[in-house]
Amino acid sequence: MPAPVQRRILLAHIDEPGYTSDIDCYLRHGGYGVMKRAIARQPEELIDEVKKSGLRGRGGAGFSCGLKWTLVDRKSGKPVYLVVNADESEPGTFKDRHLIHQDPHQLIEGIMITCWANNVRQAYIYIRGEFPQGARILERAIQEAREHRFVGRNILGTAYSCDVFVHRGAGAYICGEETGLIESLEGKRPYPRIKPPYFPAVLGLYQCPTIVNNVETICHVKHIADMGGDAFARIGTPNNTGTRIYCVSGHVRRPGYYEFEVGRITLGQLLYEVCGGPRPGRTFKAVIPGGSSAKVLKFGERFRVKLREGSMAEWSVEDIPLDFDYLSACGTMGGSGGVIVMDDSVNMVEALANINAFYAHESCGQCTPCREGSLWMRKITTRMVHGGARAQDGELLQSVADQIAGRTVCAFGEACAWPTQSFVQKFGDEFRQYAETKKTAKPVTPLV
């Protein structure tokens, strides 16, 4: 593959000196021009553009955005809502924060185009409670947009009206799950709903059809409306179109957020060429490629993967192209784009203890396998790092995790089982060694 060059579409102006979150600055850079053109078009045309673009959701599941929009029940006579998921809580992910803080109007323009395309009269931005500054920035931006008649009644002098509200979350990871988020918007505990029948596209917010999209996805909609679906589909790789923001954290020399065409960069290029490789004197040991719930990859692993052309290839971790399909083929996922890198200084048992503490804390408690299972996994890893490790703990953890995944209402069950399953599977030796060597070690406090 050629040397990777960033293709900054969403991040075009972010970190540009002098670029602010004011509407004046946005307008100077051609802001809301795409929206003006979009509102002159038929909504169906815009939905077609998004379908043609092949845009896949950037929140974690990678579900086709165009398909999501088509599934919306438009015959019910009920209003259609748009909910923008800005509850970015996945450890290792920080793209939405920057999109909101530094370019809020790009998001609002994307929202208004989405609303027009889907005949939405009421949109919500659900922003997590830990981003009070983000909420203030968005509220101010919406107010500015309202004054310029981009939001609110009679948008741009047409008969179309649509308002946007900012709703603040209050510190719960599960609110990032779309049906949990909807419950939370209704002012309740965010217990995810069971699907079927509660598909948001049919029975969402207040039992009305609802579209739930991630911040990054909605920002892409603006650019699709701008360049057209076909042009967007030419960026990236087949079935993995467009660009995506990779958030790199952990043990690399230059952590940060980088935007690349999906699949046109490999994990190795991202970590070595873009992020400067490991810290001096260290080597990479493991990487979690899609937020903390994705399965971990171990450096030195080999993968046999069937290529799109049909031939087979054998890859090391460094060779994996960062797109949805190939990452799944390698047994993990693209998820939210949060790449967490661990070098040889990391003890995998302790790292898992931290992740398990997170999931046990954040399990909403609705489904027994997840509520109990995540707690037991935390108890086991906590005991291990406090000097009570036993040789068979790895298998014990594995068996608990296996009994959670696939047995819960929402995907949290998988999200909390995958780290444990993959850590134990790939670093089983380390779990066994831990029992022998760390019995008398000083207790570490990675837990919450």
């Binding site: 970015e88 809580s89 996945e90 450890p91 290792g92 992910t93 920080f94 939405d96 924060r97 409670g129 830990e130 981003f131 009070p132 509200f165 709703h167 603040r168 979350g169 209050a170 510190g171 719960a172 990871y173 939370s184 918007l185 209704e186 002012g187 309740k188 505990r189 965010p190 207040y206 958030c247 790199v248 954290s249 952990g250 043990h251 952590p255 940060g256 957020y257 979690i288 903390s292 949060g338 967490i340 661990m342 990391v346 790292a351 931290n354 992740i355 503490a357 997170f358 804390h361 954040e362 909403c364 570490v444 406090t445 990675p446 919450v448």
Partner: protein, 224 residues
């Protein structure tokens, strides 16, 4: 028997607050007296009763005022969000913004105003970590313990903060100056490990930075 209350205690009846130190001195005094006489002389106990009565009366007056302000404030918050369905979380945000936490009296008033059961409100408050049931400290120190920050050494930061402040996470120092919190990922993984002091995020924090951050926050207060 010529023992009398120290002058500053006699003045307390005039409306000055009984400070913590005063209370401790008072208790010491009582203990000494009891030890000496086997009982507490009448003139002292009468003087004390008088002081306490005055203080209670003041408290009652404040409480009365508080009740009516609570009612008014809750009405304002509810009116602001009434039009919106599912407004409870936003109302609770407004209440916590005002008080720093959600006091029980306010929650009760809110239940009356919205016409829902108190349990419905507590169900929400207790689920979301952001809402507090206890008054916060004057300053807050929040250590991020997300996976990325953990890898970069947040456990050491947390240990250092614990020993500097003398409290564990979720607690507030005895003088109510500082509260220590742990958060799970605040979206600053690129500048891990991150610490938030009084709402201000600091990245790439080293263990040796913690005392300085605490001192700086304290100074901020004295400038005000």
């Amino acid at each position: 028997m010529t023992t009398h209350l120290p002058a500053k205690h006699a003045e307390t009846g005039g409306g000055r607050d009984l400070k913590k130190a005063d209370e401790a001195a008072l208790l010491d005094l009582l203990e000494t007296l009891e030890h000496k006489h086997g009982f507490i002389p009448r003139e002292i106990s009468e003087e004390l009763t008088r002081v306490i009565e005055v203080r209670l009366e003041r408290l009652r007056r404040i409480q009365g005022k508080l009740d009516s302000t609570i009612r008014r404030d809750v009405k304002v918050h509810v009116a602001r969000w009434r039009e919106e369905e599912g407004n409870l979380i936003m109302i609770l945000h407004a209440i916590q913004n005002q008080h720093g936490y959600v006091p029980r009296e306010v929650a009760m008033e809110l239940a009356r105003e919205l016409g829902v059961k108190l349990a419905r409100i507590y169900e929400v408050i207790t689920f979301y970590h952001y809402f507090r049931l206890q008054p916060p400290g004057a300053h807050s120190l929040t250590v991020c313990n997300g996976t990325a920050c953990y890898l970069k050494g947040s456990a050491d930061l947390l240990n250092e903060s614990r020993s500097r402040l003398g409290v564990s996470e979720g607690q507030t120092t005895a003088d109510r100056q500082f509260q220590l919190e742990v958060v799970r990922c605040i979206g600053c993984c690129g500048m891990a490990p991150a610490v938030v002091v009084d709402g201000q995020t600091h990245g790439r924090v080293k263990t040796s930075d913690i005392p300085g951050l605490i001192e700086a926050a304290k100074k901020q207060e004295s400038k005000k």
